[in-house]
């Protein structure tokens, strides 16, 4: 039962990664692309946690935490670049 749920969840999150990639490639404005990158990062966190459940290994939590940190810092830096045209003044 858990195996089947994990398979379904992998499929659904793969589909959502494809949708976010579509918005990343197509997005008419730069802020759309930043939002798509942020969503891709959050979906990758979900995928990592699911893979940790499937492998029954707790080694993936640090990776997921690191990915969420880097995703937040990256989104903040890109937003600051969009707002100011510069990241570190």
């Amino acid at each position: 039962m858990l195996k089947a749920a994990l398979e379904i969840a992998f499929l659904l999150i793969g589909a959502s990664l494809i949708l976010a990639l579509y918005r990343l490639v197509r997005g008419p404005e730069a802020s759309d692309r930043v939002l798509a990158l942020d969503t891709l990062g959050i979906n990758a966190i979900a995928l990592l946690v699911l893979y940790g459940i499937e492998a029954a290994s707790t080694a993936y939590f640090e990776t997921a935490l690191l990915l969420s940190l880097l995703g937040f810092v990256g989104a903040t830096a890109l937003c600051r670049f969009l707002l100011r045209g510069d990241i570190i003044e």
Binding site: M1, L2, A4, A5, L6, I8, A9, F10, L12, I13, A15, S16, L17, L19, A20, Y22, R23, R26, G27, P28, E29, A30, S31, D32, V34, L35, A36, D38, T39, I42, N43, I45, A46, V49, L50, G52, I53, A56, T58, F61, A64, L65, S68, L69, F72, A75, T76, C79, R80, L82, L83
Partner: protein, 149 residues
């Protein structure tokens, strides 16, 4: 692992993945940037939160160290940072809008026919759809909003 908590973990995983997919569909399909911002920042955060909750239950049941609280760190971090990055993105999008005085399409009743992100799929089957009548306005933020003025 006892079957009740296994069923609970399975249900939480599927529900969380559905929420993640819902956020991504909102990101890909909604017409305007601010509505697109609204989709993933709520639904995806909730979906990842549900999946992390499922993971916490799973590892609390299986790991020999007892209660597993690693996921709560990720969960709190996501719940704190997701609104901040959404706020910054909204600020950036408002900053790059055309200046006041020009009528933004989202301000009037012409929001529904106006879809700046009309993708190729809806354009392909655009035979009688009332919501895709207007021409795509690609240069909204670059001062090209004169199409409806």
């Amino acid at each position: 692992m006892n079957p009740v908590s296994e069923a609970l973990v399975a249900v939480l995983i599927v529900v969380g993945a559905l929420f993640v997919l819902l956020g991504a569909i909102g990101l890909a399909r909604l017409p305007d940037f601010l509505t697109r911002l609204h989709g993933p920042t709520k639904a995806t955060t909730l979906g990842v939160g549900t999946i992390l909750l499922a993971s916490a239950i799973f590892f609390s049941q299986t790991a020999e160290t007892g209660l597993s609280l690693h996921e709560l760190a990720i969960l709190f971090f996501l719940f704190i940072t997701a609104p901040i990055s959404a706020h910054l993105l909204a600020k950036a999008a408002l900053h790059r809008r055309p200046p006041a005085g020009e009528i933004h399409p989202a301000a009037g009743p012409e929001l529904a026919p106006e879809s700046s992100t009309q993708d190729a799929k809806t354009r392909g089957k655009d035979t009688g759809g009332a919501d895709t009548v207007g021409p795509p306005a690609p240069g909204r933020c670059s001062g090209g909003a004169g199409a409806e003025l």
